[in-house]
């Protein structure tokens, strides 16, 4: 691309500066996980491994992590299913109100979380009489996660066209076989990208969770929320965040690899 040398330098500079801005506070988080001061006093008066040891021992944290993984997995599965179905319907068929479907799917993420949260909790509580629990958290998260899968699949379907599927049908494959052998493999990376984003959205969600989590259901963000405001526990929270930053690279990297390899489709 024929950009001037200055333009290139400015753009690279902006990228580097932006990444620096993103990572400085994260560095503070990591540093604070070793900070001897319980309330993140700055500059740190000393360094300690106590918080890492405390986090390692904390069964509450491990339970919360497991709850979060369950909630995010459940929400992601539902989102994958609903998002793919909706994307197929919108991309492969024309019908009355097709534009409205897009709007409907975007709505849960476009409306502030507190609105979605109180609307759902009100419905569970007073309208349906469903006791709040892990199930209601999954329902709440799935609602705003559908959109990520939907958009990824929609973009992929648009790029693919229908000719390959038609060829498959012409060669005698029925609807299911075509989906299994032709359509699905081509969509795999889009599903992965959408699913990963859905998982991440659910994993760090706190506002909708606050209103839909039932007795004893403590996702990691809720655990962090509770502990951040407990004087003896705040530094442990930094440990968890620091560990998550490091661990998160694995799923993202894997997904990137698969997406990268699959992008030849």
């Amino acid at each position: 691309m024929n950009l001037s040398r200055t333009a290139r330098a400015v753009l690279w500079g902006a990228l580097a500066a932006g990444l620096a801005v993103i990572y400085v506070p994260l560095a503070v988080v990591v540093l604070n996980s070793f900070n001897a001061d319980r309330t993140f006093g700055w500059p740190p008066p000393g360094f300690t491994l106590d918080w890492w040891a405390a986090a390692w021992r904390s069964t509450g944290m491990r339970e919360a992590l497991w709850t979060s993984v369950q909630a995010a997995s459940g929400a992601t599965l539902i989102a994958l299913l609903l998002g793919t179905m909706a994307a197929f319907a919108v991309q492969r068929y024309s019908f009355f109100g097709r534009d409205t479907v897009s709007l409907l799917i975007v709505l849960p993420i476009a409306l502030p979380g507190i609105v979605t949260g109180i609307a759902l909790s009100n419905t569970f509580h007073t309208v349906l009489g469903i006791p709040l629990g892990l199930f209601t958290v999954i329902v709440g998260h799935a609602t705003f996660c559908v959109v990520t899968v939907y958009n990824n699949v929609l973009a992929r379907l648009r790029r693919l066209g229908v000719s390959i599927e038609e060829a498959s049908a012409d060669l005698g494959a029925d609807t299911f076989t075509t989906f299994r052998l032709v359509t699905f493999p081509m969509m795999r990376s889009a599903l992965l990208a959408g699913g990963l984003l859905a998982f991440a959205l659910s994993f760090d969600e706190i506002i909708v969770t606050t209103f839909t989590a039932g007795a004893g259901v403590r996702t990691l963000p809720i655990w962090i929320f509770e502990n951040l405001f407990r004087p003896n526990q705040a530094p442990v929270v930094n440990v968890v965040a620091a560990a998550l930053i490091v661990l998160s690279v694995i799923p993202i990297w894997l997904a990137q690899r698969i997406t990268g390899e699959a992008s030849r489709y």
Partner: protein, 401 residues
């Protein structure tokens, strides 16, 4: 983030008047008509203790029911479970209203209700009277906490007291001179500490302004900071609007306030004893006092659900949580004064009870325990309507602007 009276409560003025006056024993037995303002639904207390049901579902404030999952050393649940066979399931509530809502679901057996929730639970018939004769440790609870308007109605006890504390005035000794002994320092619009004053971020903080007005504007005739008529309420709101101009930030959690005082972002404002202790431990140059005007405070109550599915285990829990050892543990972990007089001998820090003034009835006589403001004036007036908590909440929104 608890945006509300996180722990506590109560209809303080009457208790206060009673504690100071000679009617100490008579007052709780015969509350003034306006005080309770309602007749609770007739529900019978448990008559005798049966076998445990194998589990108990609790609604509690964070830090009240610790089973070692937060810190292996902080655990007063495991021993309860092994000695009674009652498995404990806890739901941590963030606010008093969450507690009230959770208790309405009928899924829980007991709740650590603050005074701003306890009366509502009693009025709605969500909790049952408690037969204190089935709770041996009740005998050792400080008399100053028994039969109070926030845990009893018409002389009938609805729960056992858990602990108590006061909202204090904290300041940085290196910047605030001379040492304040009055709330005036946080209300003075010409304060030299402008932009570094902090206040508790909750509608209930309006009561703090009312406490200050009780001594600075006696002509308003405020008897109970939770029973404010139109004029009194307006005066408190005006005072807080004026205070806002010198506020640096409102605080709502420990970490935030300790950090602000350590860094010097805040130099004077309301606090809890536990925050002061932690800030001191972190070498912040701070000092606290109970100002001469008195202060607001809290006192929580463990109550049993009217529809409890595991009442026998719930009673065992009530007895356990006010037993000297467990009560001492929870008081130290949470940072408040224990309710059991024998707990003072059990605390890990031998000075805990002194630090938190556990046995100092004179100290607590200056404390107006948090309670829910209701339209029926809590000070017994029947000729006016008082502002209820919904109006306090709207006013708080307006004060913050």
């Amino acid at each position: 983030m608890r945006s509300i009276p996180r722990m506590a409560a109560a209809v303080a003025a009457l208790a206060l008047a009673a504690a100071c006056g000679s009617t100490e024993t008579a007052a709780p037995a015969a509350p003034a008509p306006g005080v309770s303002g309602f007749t609770p639904p007739k529900i019978d207390a448990l008559a005798s203790l049966g076998a445990g049901e194998g589990q108990v579902n609790l609604v509690a404030w964070a830090g009240y029911v610790e089973d070692g999952s937060t810190d292996p050393k902080v655990d007063w649940v495991t021993e309860f479970e092994s000695s009674t066979g009652c498995q404990v399931n806890t739901k941590t509530a963030g606010t008093s209203d969450e507690m009230v809502n959770l208790m309405k679901t009928g899924e829980y057996d007991a709740v650590s209700a603050s005074g701003d929730a306890s009366l509502r639970l009693i009025a709605a018939g969500d909790v049952a009277p408690v037969n204190t004769s089935l709770i041996p440790n009740y005998a050792d609870v400080f008399p100053g906490l028994k039969d109070k308007p926030w845990n009893s109605v018409g002389g009938v006890s609805y729960g056992v007291p858990h602990g108590r504390g006061a909202n204090l005035l904290m300041w940085r000794t290196d910047t605030v001179n001379p040492a304040p002994d009055s709330w005036g320092v946080v209300f003075d619009p010409a304060s030299p500490y402008k932009g570094k004053v902090t206040a508790y971020d909750s509608p209930i903080y309006i009561a703090d302004a009312a406490v200050y007005l009780m001594s600075t504007k006696p002509e308003l005739g405020i008897k109970n900071p939770y029973a404010l008529d139109d004029t009194q309420f307006q005066a408190a709101v005006d005072l807080l609007k004026q205070q806002r101009t010198i506020i640096g930030e409102y605080w709502s959690d420990y970490t935030k306030e300790i950090q602000a005082f350590k860094s010097g972002d805040s130099v004077v404002g309301t606090t809890w004893q536990v925050i002061a202790n932690l800030a001191t431990a972190e070498k912040a140059p701070i000092e606290v006092t109970l100002p001469k005007e008195g202060a607001t405070g809290w006192s929580d109550t463990w109550m049993v659900a009217a529809a409890a599915k595991h009442p026998n285990c719930a009673y065992r829990w009530l007895d356990w949580i006010i037993s000297p050892k467990a009560n001492a543990q929870v008081a130290e972990w949470f940072g408040e004064a224990p309710s059991n007089s024998k707990s003072c001998a059990e605390t890990a820090d031998p000075k805990h009870c002194d630090t938190f003034h556990a046995t100092d009835e004179d100290y607590f006589s200056k404390v107006y325990y948090w309670t829910t403001p209701i339209p029926q004036c809590l000070d017994g007036r029947t000729d006016v309507t008082c502002k209820d908590y919904a109006e306090w909440t709207r006013a708080w929104t307006e004060i913050k602007g």
